[in-house]
C-alpha cells in the first residue's frame, strides 16, 4: 500500500536525512516517529499513515519512518531523554514509536518494542500529541 502521509528518512544520506527531519520538525504537523523495519513495524507504519488522515478535528498529522536506530539518533534520543521516556531500563533501541507535539516539540509517551502497534495505541498517540499541542 502506498504511503501517503509518511516521510521515509533516507538511511545512506545523512545530510538529506537531517534536511528532511528539519523540514518536518519545523512544520506545524503532529509527527509520529516510527523506528525500525520489521514486518510488524511496516504494518504499523501502514496503519499510522492511514490514521494520519483521520484526525477527528482535522489536525495535520504526519509519519516519520526511520528504519534503523542509527540515523537521526543524535536528534531523536535527546527528545526522548528529555521526556524521561528513555531511562536506565529503557534504552533508545527499545522504543518503537512515539509522537511529537507541534513546536515546541515534545514526546509524551511511546510504544515499547514489545508493545502492539494497533489502532488503539497509534490513534491514542496521535490524540495525546494533539492534546499536548493545544496552547
Amino acid at each position: 500500500m502506498a504511503l501517503q502521509k509518511t516521510t521515509e528518512i533516507p538511511l545512506n544520506d545523512k545530510e538529506l536525512a537531517l534536511k528532511e527531519y528539519a523540514e518536518l520538525i519545523e512544520s506545524d504537523k503532529i509527527i509520529m516517529v516510527v523506528l525500525g523495519n520489521s514486518a510488524s513495524i511496516q504494518a504499523g507504519v501502514d496503519l499510522a499513515d492511514e490514521l494520519a488522515d483521520t484526525s477527528p478535528t482535522g489536525e495535520k498529522r504526519w509519519v516519520m519512518w526511520v528504519k534503523n536506530y542509527e540515523v537521526l539518533k543524535e536528534k531523536l534520543k535527546p527528545v526522548l531523554k528529555k521526556a524521561k521516556i528513555i531511562e536506565d531500563d529503557t534504552p533508545y533501541e527499545d522504543i518503537k514509536a512515539f509522537c511529537l507535539t507541534r513546536p515546541e516539540r515534545k514526546a509524551l509517551s511511546r510504544v515499547h518494542k514489545n508493545g502492539a502497534m494497533d489502532f488503539v495505541r497509534l490513534e491514542g498517540l496521535f490524540v495525546e500529541a494533539e492534546r499536548g499541542s493545544i496552547i
Binding site: 501517503q4 492511514e50 488522515d53 483521520t54 484526525s55 477527528p56 478535528t57 482535522g58 494497533d118 489502532f119 488503539v120 495505541r121 490513534e123 491514542g124 490524540v127 495525546e128 494533539e130 492534546r131 493545544i134
Partner: protein
Amino acid sequence: MKKKCILSFIGLFFSLFLGYGQILTIIEKNGRKIDTVKTNSAQIIDINGNLEIAISKTNLINRIRSNHPDFGDQLDLQKRIDALEKALTNQETLLRRLQQQTLNATDKKAFYEELDAFYKSLSETGNEDIRAQANALFDEWRQKFGPRSSNPNSGLKKEVYILSNLNKDLNLVKGNLANANGKSYTVSMIAHVLGDKGKKNRVHIENFDTISESELITIPRWVTSLTPEQATKLQELQKRAEDYNKEAPKYFESFKAALLTKLPDLSCIGDLKTGIQNFINNANAGSTMKAALQDDAQSLVAEIDGLTSIVGLVTQNISNWTINTPFEIIAQAKTLAKSVDSIKINFSQFKTTAGTFANIKTQIDPVIGTFAACYQTVSDEISGLANAISILKNQRDRFNDNDAIGAEVVKFTLSDLPGTGYIKLKRSGARDNGDELEVVLVLRLPQKENAIDNAGPLAEKNETLESRPLVMQLIGLHSETAVGIIMGDSFNEKGFTPRTDKRFLYAPSAALLLKVGSRKSKLYNDFIDFGFGLAISTPDFNTDGTPEFGAGLMFTAFKNILSVGLNYNVTLDTPFWSFGINLPFNLPGIPINAPK
C-alpha cells in the same frame, strides 16, 4: 533497605499471584494536609480528622473471585461493565462535540482531554478484551466507509462509530448480568469505634449507610476537662449505646426462649422404661428366658437414662447460653439423635428376644405398641430441636460475624457500589485517645434456606473482605490534666525544719501537662507517653493538719504513672522535689491511686 525489599516482594507476590491486592485505600485529610494511611504503618490517625475511603473495584472483584470461584461468570461480566463504563465515561460530550463542525478553543481542549482519557483507558492492563473490540470496530468502520475517511461528509467518523458500538455492547453486557443465573451477593462497608472493654459504637460512612451522624464531639486539644454540656452529652450517648447493645441480641433472646419450649417431652420415655421394668419383673417366663430378656432390657434402660441425661444437659446449656459465649450444643444435639437411634436398635433386640418366647406374646405386645408411638414422638421432637439449634447458632454467628449489620447499612451490588466513602471523626460520637476505628468491607451472601418461618431477619452470611483497624490519637502537641499522689522531699532551705522521722510526705497533686501524640509509634502513644507541665500540690510539711500550697514543674512518663517534679512550697517558703508512682490499680493500705 533489605527488609523493605523483602516486604515489597512479598506484597508484589500476593498482589500478582493471589489477587490479594489491597481493596481499601484510606486517606486522611486535615485541613490542607492529605496523608494516605499505609497498611504497613502503625495506622494512627488524628482523632478529629476526616477520612476518605476509596474502594478498588478491580481488587474487590479479584478478592471475591478468589474466595468464591463460583461467582466467576458474574464477575467477568461485571469487570467488563466496569471497564466499558470507565472508557465511556465522557461518551455523551464526546459524541456531541464530534457532531459539531468546529470547536472553540475551550471545547477543543475538553474534547481532547476526554478522547485522550478514552484511548488511555482502552490501553490499560486488564482491558485487553475491550481494546481488541475497539480495534475490531475500527476495522469494521474502515470496511463500511472506506479508509481515510477524514472528510466528515464521506461517512460516520470512526470515533462516533466506535463509541456508539461500545455503548451498545455495554447495554448488552448489563442485560446479560441482570439475567445471569448465578448466586446473588452484595457488598457493604461498616465502621465502628472500639472503645475500652470492646464496646462498639457504629460510625456513619457517607455513601454507605443511613446511620445518622452522632453529635459533634471534637476531642479538645487544649481544653483539659470536659464541659458540663459534654459530660451530659456523653451520658446520653452512653445510654444510647447501651440501649443499642441491648437491642442487638433481643431477637436472639426471644428465639432462645422459644427454643426452650421445643425440648423433647420425655414423659412417654419414662412410661416406657417403667413398662419394660414391670414386664421383666412380672413376665411369666422361665429363668433362662428371663435372664436373656433382662440383659436386653438393661441395655435399653441404660440408653433411655442416657437420653434423659443429655436432654437435661442441653436444657441447662441453652438456658446459660448468651450471644457472646461459645457453646457445644450442636454436638450435643447430634448425640441426642444418635442416642434415639441407639434406643431403637436396643429395643429391636429386646423385641426379637421377647418374640422367641411365644408364651409371653400377650404381655410384650402392649410394650411394643407403647415404644413405637413414643419413639416416633421423641425422634420428631429431637429432630425439630436440632434444626432449631442450628438456626439459633446461625443467628448467633451472624451477630458475631457482622457486628449486627442493621437495615441502615446499605447493600450494594458491584455495579452501584460507590467508589468512595467518607467519615468525619468529629461526628463519630464518644471516643477516647487511643480508641480503635475499624473499617470493614463485608460480602453479604443471602442464604434463604435458613429463614425461620418468616420470623426475624432473613438469614445472611457475612464475610469480611477487608478490615482496616485504625488508631485514633490526638496527633501533635496537646495538653491534658493528671491527678495523683506525689511524695515530696523538702530541700530544708530558708530555715524550714522538716520532720525528722519521715523523709517523704504524701501530697495530692494536679498537673496540666503538655504532650505530643505520635503518628508513627503506637509504643510511644500507648506506653512511653512523656508529659511536661505545671503542677500544683497541697503538701503538709509541718504536719499541722492544714495543707500548704505548692507549685512547680512536673515531668511524667508511661501514661502519667511515673512523675518527677521540682516544686516550691509557697506557704512555708521552701523548695522540694517530688516523685509519684500512680499505678492503674489500688493497693490496700497504700495511698496510691490511678492517674485521672
